[in-house]
Structure formats: C-alpha cells, structure tokens
Symmetry: C2
Subunit: 258 residues, 2 copies
Amino acid sequence: MYNRATSITCNSMNSKNLNPNVSVDCVVFGFDNERLNVLLIEQKPLNKSIKPQSALPGDLVMEDESLDQAANRVLRELTGLKGIYLCQFKAFGDPQRVRDVKDLAWLQTYREYPQARVITVAYYALVKMHDFSPEASSFADKVYWCDVHNVPPLAFDHNQIVIEGLKTLRREFEAHRIGFELLPKKFTLSQLQRLYEIITDKKFDKRNFRKKILRENILIPLPEKQQGVLHKPAQLYEFNLRELAELGAFNGDTVEIY
Amino acid sequence: MYNRATSITCNSMNSKNLNPNVSVDCVVFGFDNERLNVLLIEQKPLNKSIKPQSALPGDLVMEDESLDQAANRVLRELTGLKGIYLCQFKAFGDPQRVRDVKDLAWLQTYREYPQARVITVAYYALVKMHDFSPEASSFADKVYWCDVHNVPPLAFDHNQIVIEGLKTLRREFEAHRIGFELLPKKFTLSQLQRLYEIITDKKFDKRNFRKKILRENILIPLPEKQQGVLHKPAQLYEFNLRELAELGAFNGDTVEIY
DNA sequence: CCAAAAGTGTTCTTGTTACACCCATGA
DNA sequence: TCATGGGTGTAACAAGAACACTTTTGG
C-alpha cells in the first residue's frame, strides 16, 4: 500500500522527482576480442549478512525526461559510462516482476514506494569493452563485466531481460551491420571473423567469410602487416566509413541523445 | 499537480484500480482485399461544441494485469474485438506526449489524474477486416476503419505510433510469413499477390511472385476454379497449414493470451 | 469478337555452400 | 625444421530480376 505525490508536485523526501511506476534497464554488451560480456552491477545489501545480488543497471524514470534520456542517465549514474548508443527493445510489465522475496530488502532500502508496480523499458547496446571503464557509483557496490554464457541469478526478471536482449542483439547484428566500432582501427580479417562468430554464436568458413566481406566493399586494405606474431603476418584493414555510413550501419535509425 | 492512491489501496472513485502512469495502445491493421486500414475510435467530446478527435484504442493499465493482458482487455472494451493476436512493438515515453492542449478536455473528462505523465506501450495486430465487426463502447462514440494512407490528425502522439506500427508490420511481414489468415479459405494467386503488394506497399512481377510462392510449398491447389468471373477463371488454392506451422508462421514466438 | 485477367519459361546475374593445400614468420 | 595461423579458387546450386505472349471466359 502506498501513497505518492508526483509530477508537478515535488516530494520533499525525494529530490529527484521519480516516477514510481516506470523504470529503464540497460543491457550493455561488451566485446573484448575474446568473449561477449554483459555489464552488471552488484546491489548494496541492506545489511552485511545478506548475500549481495547482481542486477542490470537500471532505475526509475524521472518525471521530466524521455525514456531514452532516462536510459542514458541511469547508465551514467550507475556505471559512469556515457556516450553509448542505447536502443530500446522491449517493455517488461509482469505485475509480479518486482514482487519476489529475493528483491524485497533492496526495494525497501532504495525505493520510496517499495510496493509500487514497476514496468520497465529495456535497452541494449554493444560496445568495445576496453573503451569503457565502468565505475561503481553510490548505489552499487561493484560494476563488472560478465560472460554472457555465465550470467548468475539476477534481481527481478533481469535474467529474462538479458536473454531477450541477446536475441535482439544477434538478430540486429545479422540483419544490419552494427558493431563496427568493436575492433581496433587496424584489424585483420581473422579478428573480424572472430567478432562475427562470437556475437552470432556461429562458425563460418574462412574462405566464404572473406569473399563475402570483401565483396561488400566496406574494408580498405592498408599497406601494413601484423608485426611480431609467430606465424605468417596478416594483412591489416580499416573500415570504409564512407560506405558504411551510406549503408546506414551506425546506430539504427534514431538519433543519439548524449 | 496530482495526488493519488494506487496499488494495494483501492481508490473508491476508481472501481478499476488503474495505474495512472502506464497505458497501452493498439494499432490494429485490417485487410479487406482492397486496402490496408487501421482501427480508430472517436473520442466522446466534453461538450457538443468541441470537434471530436480520433485516437487509437488505448487506455491505462490495471494494477494486476500484464501489459499483454491490458492490451487485449482495452481493445475488447473499446471496440468489442477479441481473440486478436497483439504484438508489442515499442514504448513511447516523451514527457510531453499527453500535454498537448488538443487533448486536455478529453483527459479532464476521462482521467482521474489528467496531469499524470503517461508512458504507453504500443501493440500492433493484423486481421481480416470482415472477420471483426468493431462496436463502439461507452468510452468511444464511434469505432471505424481508416485507410492507412489517410489517417486524420489523432490524439496525443498516436499518428507517430501508427507510423511506427506500420513500419514494424511491413518489416515483420517481409521477414516472416504472417498474415495468412487474411484471405478467404480458397483464394487465387492474384489475390495473394495483391495482399503482399498492399501490405508491403510494393509491386511484384507476376511470374516471379508465383514462382517464389509455389516453390515454398505452402499452397495446395484445389480441384476447383473461380466461377462467374468475366475473364479466364483462376485456379483456387488453400494454405498448407501443416507446412506453415512448421515454419513458425503464426503469431511470432509468443503465446496468445485470450 | 472483345475485354479482362489468368497463366506460363528463359536467360542472366548474384549469392551460398562445400571443400584442401601452400605460405611466411619467429622460436 | 616446426608450429602457428594466414591466405587462396572452383564448381554446383539456389535465388532474384527482367521480360511478352497466349488462353479462357462472359458479355
């Protein structure tokens, strides 16, 4: 049972005029040339005896910001990350999604209306892990990257959100050409193939992959080779940004907020 | 400025315990062998002098129902339609989306908290128009089908929602094989081609279309022809439901609610 | 016999799959 | 000289695009 004042009214308890019924959650995937990871935070437990729980970075939406703005703000506040293109993929609204006993202590500590029903709007993003060094904020004890194949039990319905986010990511990655910011400026075709294989979770034939990718005319061979490797050094390439832009490869069809 | 009681509290003014911050809107597309239409309702104006405004069927979510349930309930209550597979496609959360002066009168008449910020979760569906006879409810003066090329100015941000719904519909229609319930049981290849052309808003070559569709093995030719037409009568077909089911053609990958 | 829509085949190009061996380097 | 990953070509097949004339019916 709860009672609240929102909107134009500013509740004195609550410097941040939050909407108690709507949140955003961010499924940020990070690629590190080896594995696909997802960004998690560890909730600060109520008291030290309670085992801390992991969760997606997410929080209530403020009354005067859009959903896109909220997603960017929340990610920045909880993890320090900014300048990441977040793409909305689904709203989760099961009436019981914040009612599990495992989440009660956290809700009572951090939410003004712990009983409020919360619908969450989920966003995903894909970044180069080493470009971003997430840092824990006051709300979270830790922020860490976690292999998508090894996600622990998370708060609320966040495991389901991760799964649906992954599905969306893979669908989008195969359909459009997202994810070209994930490699070093100069890279080899094998690195690119590994990127494709890790994200789509499929294997490709080396010759066919190279044929296909070179045919698309989005790579520029450089007058350089790998150095210091203990095998035949590979040709280095960079992306043809002009071509990619024409194909609408960057950031879907919406506009960046931050 | 508003104050409210929700959730476990049942407000005596409000037999239906609605969440003031979250709504659902339904973009129901109807195909009538000629055109693609969208289902609209006409809002009951506050007083007779105000020009009535059209809108998508939509309303606030109840505290104890899921978003999918809400979408189905709202559509049924406002238009009488049920048994329609609704698919969530996007949440709209601009803080100003219910702040336009054009919508003030309606909000003040029908909403307990007219100032509340409302995030809406939009659903789309595609049905055979003549299978459904929408009927106006107490909340709406009229319910009617409207050619998607001629949508009038709508309440709130509903024009934008229709546009995004159409984009989603077309993308899904081309990707998967939805929409096979839209033709009569027995139909001609020309009818099927017209369906494709109207929904995707493209033209196809007759020979190539037939080759492609027959190759897929989803049609069964019937020992029957058209009758009473003033030209060469066409072969009739029916769908190979067994094949279609295997291809996962029906209703995406989620489960029907009602 | 006319109007109207049905029905039909070929060619060209492009993309997809499957598959196995030699090459350049540093240790 | 060896281990390691880099680099290459061909054949078979499937899918997509372009294109024009004959057929059957009712009026």
